[in-house]
Symmetry: C2
Amino acid sequence: MSVTTAKGFRAAGVAAGLKSTGAPDLALVLNDGPNDAAAAVFTSNRCKANPVLWSERAIADGRLRSVVLNSGGANCYTGAEGFQITHATAEEVARLSGLSPLDVLVCSTGLIGLGLSKEKMLAGVADATAKLRTEGGPDAAEAIRTTDTVAKQAAITSPGGWSIGGMAKGAGMLAPALATMLVVITTDAQVEPSALDSALRAATRVTFDRLDSDGCQSTNDTVVLLSSGASGVTPDLIEFAAAVTEVCRDLALQLLADAEGADHEIAIEVRGAATEDDALEVGRSVARSNLFKAAIFGQDPNWGRILASVGTTRATFDPADLDVALNGVWVCRKSTPAQAPEGIDLSGRAVSVTIDLKSGPETATVWTNDLTHAYVHENSAYSS
Amino acid sequence: MSVTTAKGFRAAGVAAGLKSTGAPDLALVLNDGPNDAAAAVFTSNRCKANPVLWSERAIADGRLRSVVLNSGGANCYTGAEGFQITHATAEEVARLSGLSPLDVLVCSTGLIGLGLSKEKMLAGVADATAKLRTEGGPDAAEAIRTTDTVAKQAAITSPGGWSIGGMAKGAGMLAPALATMLVVITTDAQVEPSALDSALRAATRVTFDRLDSDGCQSTNDTVVLLSSGASGVTPDLIEFAAAVTEVCRDLALQLLADAEGADHEIAIEVRGAATEDDALEVGRSVARSNLFKAAIFGQDPNWGRILASVGTTRATFDPADLDVALNGVWVCRKSTPAQAPEGIDLSGRAVSVTIDLKSGPETATVWTNDLTHAYVHENSAYSS
């Protein structure tokens, strides 16, 4: 259940000394082929980190052989020197594995505005290359952790004879995102770059893109999907896309469950929307309400804060005809108090909010976390 | 220095029993004339409270004689019965003071989705009417407090012989807003409704509209300006508008300083913008970054979180050429680390952030607060 579940991949995770703690901080994933098709999506933040600027070029031809990832520094707003370090890292991976530098995707995570040590990066690459193995997936997943309390991995094996495996770090979404989200997904199915790209975009649209832990968008978010073709099987593309979505959803919910300082995982389902965009806009607005998120932390069924957020959107709805449920209890019907909220038990980690806009057939679910003392502590007491 | 500083106004604040604490919770301001010109602006939230729905009608003719305000319940999402309570309140004020109901603006603040007691409201109106006096401004300011730790009042007297006085409660902005912001401003200058409206909109645009304490927009926000004309003086309109802006700015900064749980007041100045809208969009995006706000609480000069927010906007700028200063120290020049941030002292309440987009001549300042344990506590431990 890792990035080396799929055949044709080797991986490694090593301590390169980028983290002051001495914990593992550099991961390498190598596609041994026979294929080298790939697809990737990146943060929509206009302030992109150096590795993102590099990786956008590397993926342009739909071909990749390797992904190198480091924690311990985002390499963002580090100037021309920062870009040179990314470039040199890709060149070193390529040199040691007999690839072209543009076959190498680079991902970094950590503090923005902090320079990385080129010497440590290159030494780490050499160490990781020496340690690449087909059981190395879990080591790689370990090395990309920053504030993650656990490594996140997922895999699916199709009865058709192919597999998909993946790893993730961070907690958040592509746009916006809490801390940097890095995801590497591998498959031994034989799939062309364009089909990989379609499957990956369809999957991230309904998974990582609907995770909004704290409304803050990262400069480094990257999700990459690599195909080795080592199974020799060309999959049914619809089945393949569904499996990619399932792996992405699994990893996304692992990120949600491990979000910094969170006490609750909150699923906000918006029903009855005129368009899916309306449903998403409403869900995201509620997901970004600090007042609502603090209320859930306090186990307070304060549905007025939900409606106040709905009112800030441009979605189609009648303000006098909205229904809201908390954990299945319809506390508001026709914009008027309905079932008593007092009995709602918000002590469990999972909380569901349902908002019915009564304006159409569309629906969408956005996931978020509550706003807790631990969130404030983690993000005020430490630089990240 | 209150809403009764200007001649021609009486006010009162009483305990109507709407708050369980028994604290004052109903305020009344009466304009004795001779004039009754007025202007008002309301929340841009589409989910408007019943008193806002009423007050939008009341102000339509540019004439008001009275403002009645209650704390202890927002009267929002309380259905048809809630609107009837607002209506009955205006009728009772009108009956007791010999006015038309549509001469009465109604403002409510408190929990959304909670019904108000009509009996207590009407009894409170009678009590307040009996207690109206020309020295009653401070009592009124006291009665509109909710989580405010102090009453907020301001006044200006012009050498020209006219005055402006005001009171405010809440902490936030018109769009969005933290908790409900209610502001009543009075003047004895002789000013027609259209000029009052122009002056008020110009003032709120650069004051309350640029306050973004926690990104949450209220359903009840109201700012009203009443002219009694009792000074007999027709002011220079430019001087008058400047004075209204000064009173609004004074009250806005009092709201900022008393925002729920805040440890710091943060002024985010965006320079070098192509348009004022660009400057505002960038300032607001930084003001809504929980990661940035938590860093300031932790006295951590984490400027990477500022640039990550800038990147989420559509403003015109070159991501590779941004400058950022914290408390006047230019920690980032040309999107690259510049002066060392370590020496920056963020222990004082006032923090300044300067962002130079280097893309034009426009500038704007947005004010916000930090994200603190006390904010989470106030908004999770109590319903509001």
